[in-house]
Amino acid sequence: MARPLAWLGQGAVYGLLALGIGYCSSNPDLTRFPPDMALVRLSFAHGAERREPCRTRSPEELRELPPNMRRPQACSRERLPVLVELELDGEVLYRASLEPTGLARDGPSRVYERFRVPAGRHQLTARLRDSRRAEGFDYERQVDVDLRPRQSLAIDFRSETGGFVVR
């Protein structure tokens, strides 16, 4: 190929490379969420009560233990599952019994769930049971929300602050 043509050819190759990289580094756009929807995320890590209640050790039992292990209460490690329920306008969005984590099942139960809901006014109700009770819930929170399009609403749970936290 004649030299000027070769230079042109090289320019074309470099130009195509620049075009490809320049375009694909930010195009085509990804539209991943409908404009009339909002997102509700439910996430927490919470340890339920122990499966067996703690028992107070007798003075004889304590005496038999090495001094550094003489804790007055004897507790099993395994925890109960956490029952969680989320309702939107009276309809159940999510209900699950969350098993404790860990090989000894002594870790917190955890959840991370996303729900696409229509933007607008809604009533959200979150409930949680973490005790040995057979019916009902230990925590419940009901909030009225006005979700903007593409708003992301987070529902957390912190027992130390009284239960569900909506952000």
Partner: protein
């Protein structure tokens, strides 16, 4: 698998021929994809150091500091940021092309398995380095990357607590997690460099710097792109809103829409299965390699030429084991030998003139020995001369298996012998053909210039012919009767044209005195060739 490889190879070869028309061989980007990968790495590293100087590592201040870099000092920080991004993208482009091309050329099996397998973690490290980089800008794209990445990681049942919880809301946002990302974005490229070093352990003289012209062309391309389309951020991250319309960098984040929408088993399964397939590819199916090169100690004087010429570090010089008065002997590692025969071409005992004893060189390819080569040359020469017509010159054409099938070009004017690699041809064979009057000229062909299938076959051959590398072509060989034609496989037409032109030139060449020795009895020719060894 063979059909896929052949189709890809044909596509690459056509593209290479096209680029050969525009680029000199040393500048053809397809011949230097690995070196270009390194070049882009250094651009990314240098620009990254500059950006880090001005980058604020606090999660609330990161976005603002990147904006300042991009807009307030667009001429320096902005350009550096764009170079950082586009060179990273360029790295993915050349890396993927390099992978596919090596696959198409069947350079991933047999002795090359190590280089292939160590390339797989490089893929992961490059992508992880890029992904952690996007995280640091902390714009809505970073938010998307952070949320999808952590949700995807959470689908693995190995983490006690949800990582994605860190990005639930601004209140749960943990500054320490962001610090971890900065650490990873620096540490991963350093690990990448280490793995790149391991990747090249079985490659002699690896090309880690492309030719200056090619490097300059690539750098100017990246610079021009940075000025024309500077890299910019999306809006600042807001965990109270869903990042919806995103300009993804598809080179790094192309799989993210799948990670987000596919179930964990499917998305993790896809990635892990793809990785496993890549790792296992050298054995799918197992490579049935020809026997590796063998050393014949009786003919090896430990001259080291084979070890110096081997492109794959498959030959080591070890202490002499047979008690003969030489310092070293060549030892072949069959696991590294790719059966190119370049070692046999380098051995000074690969001497076709030898008739008194069997032609067994110090090192040889069992599948295509130097003795077999001589037989084929003799046969091709006899065939040629039987068809000789007065005034019509004839050429002995040497080619290689990976290149054009030279045996298909045989006719009354062209005799042809194919080798494992053109570097397998000892220069004394050229002397042999001409001094024995087996042909009027010798033509050497192989792969396209700048892209020898066995890396150094063309380089070493050129150097031997020019007397720059042992074993030299003897000075008595008339150079006007020798032609080298380096063309790619799809360029049979070019090879034919070059042969026709060579034959025409030969017709004009008067036989030099040296060739008249063809009439000398074989016993005296043997003496004449003895000074090769």
């Amino acid at each position: 698998m063979n059909r896929l490889r052949a189709a890809l190879r044909t596509a690459f070869e056509r593209l290479e021929v096209l680029l050969d028309a525009a680029f000199p061989p040393a500048w053809n980007p397809l011949y230097h994809l690995g070196g270009l990968g390194f070049f882009f790495y250094w651009i990314v590293a240098v620009s990254g150091v500059y950006l880090f100087i001005f980058f604020d590592t606090g999660i609330t201040a990161a976005f603002a500091s990147v904006e300042r870099l991009t807009h307030d000092q667009w001429y320096a920080g902005g350009v550096m940021r764009s170079l950082h991004r586009y060179a990273s993208d360029g790295m993915v482009v050349v890396m993927v092309l390099h992978l596919v091309r090596e696959f198409s050329l069947d350079r991933y099996r047999g002795a090359r398995w190590f280089t292939w397998v160590t390339g797989v973690p490089i893929l992961w490290l490059v992508f992880l380095s890029g992904i952690t980089g996007y995280w640091l800008v902390w714009d809505t794209l970073a938010q998307y990357v952070a949320v999808v990445s952590t949700e995807w990681l959470d689908r693995l049942p190995i983490f006690g607590l949800s990582i994605a919880r860190n990005f639930l809301s601004s209140a749960t946002l943990d500054d320490r997690f962001f610090t971890l990302m900065i650490f990873l974005h620096i540490a991963l490229p350093l690990v990448l460099l280490l793995v790149l070093w391991i990747h090249l352990q079985r490659v002699k003289r690896p090309e880690i710097n492309p030719a200056r012209g090619l490097a300059a062309g690539m750098f100017l391309t990246m610079l021009a792109l940075s000025l024309v389309k500077p890299a910019t951020s999306h809006g600042p991250a807001d965990l109270g809103a869903v990042p919806a319309d995103l300009g993804l960098d598809w080179f790094y984040l192309g799989l993210y829409p799948l990670f987000e929408s596919w179930p964990g088993v499917a998305s993790w399964g896809m990635v892990l299965v793809l990785t496993l397939i890549l790792v296992a590819l050298p054995w799918l199916p197992p490579f049935r390699a020809a026997p590796a090169a063998v050393v014949d100690l009786a003919n090896c004087n430990g001259c080291t030429r084979c070890a110096l010429d081997c492109p794959y570090e498959a030959i080591q010089m070890m202490r002499r084991s047979d008690g003969r008065p030489f310092e070293a002997e060549a030892v072949v590692d069959p696991d590294r030998c790719v059966r190119c025969g370049i070692c046999a071409g380098a051995c000074p005992t690969s001497m076709p003139f030898r008739r008194a004893s069997a032609l067994i060189p110090g090192i040889d390819l069992p599948e295509l020995t130097v003795a077999t080569l001589r037989e084929r040359v003799d046969a091709a020469g006899a065939e040629l001369r039987a068809a000789r017509r007065a005034g019509a010159p004839q050429v002995m054409l040497f080619g290689c298996h990976p290149g054009i099938d030279v045996t298909a070009l045989r006719n009354e004017a062209v005799g042809a012998v194919s080798l494992a690699c053109i570097g397998q041809l000892p220069p004394s064979f050229i002397d042999y053909v001409l001094s024995r009057d087996l042909a009027d000229g010798v033509a050497l062909t192989g792969c396209a210039e700048g892209e020898c299938r066995h890396r150094f076959g063309i380089d070493w051959t050129e150097a031997r012919l020019e007397g720059r590398r042992d074993p030299h072509l003897r000075k008595r060989v008339p150079r006007e009767r020798l032609e080298t034609i380096w063309v790619g496989r799809p360029e049979t037409g070019r090879l034919r044209d070059a042969l026709d032109a060579f034959l025409a030139r030969l017709g004009e060449v008067e036989a030099p005195k040296a060739l008249r020795r063809a009439a000398v009895p074989p016993s005296r020719q043997l003496e004449a060739g003895a000074d090769h060894g």
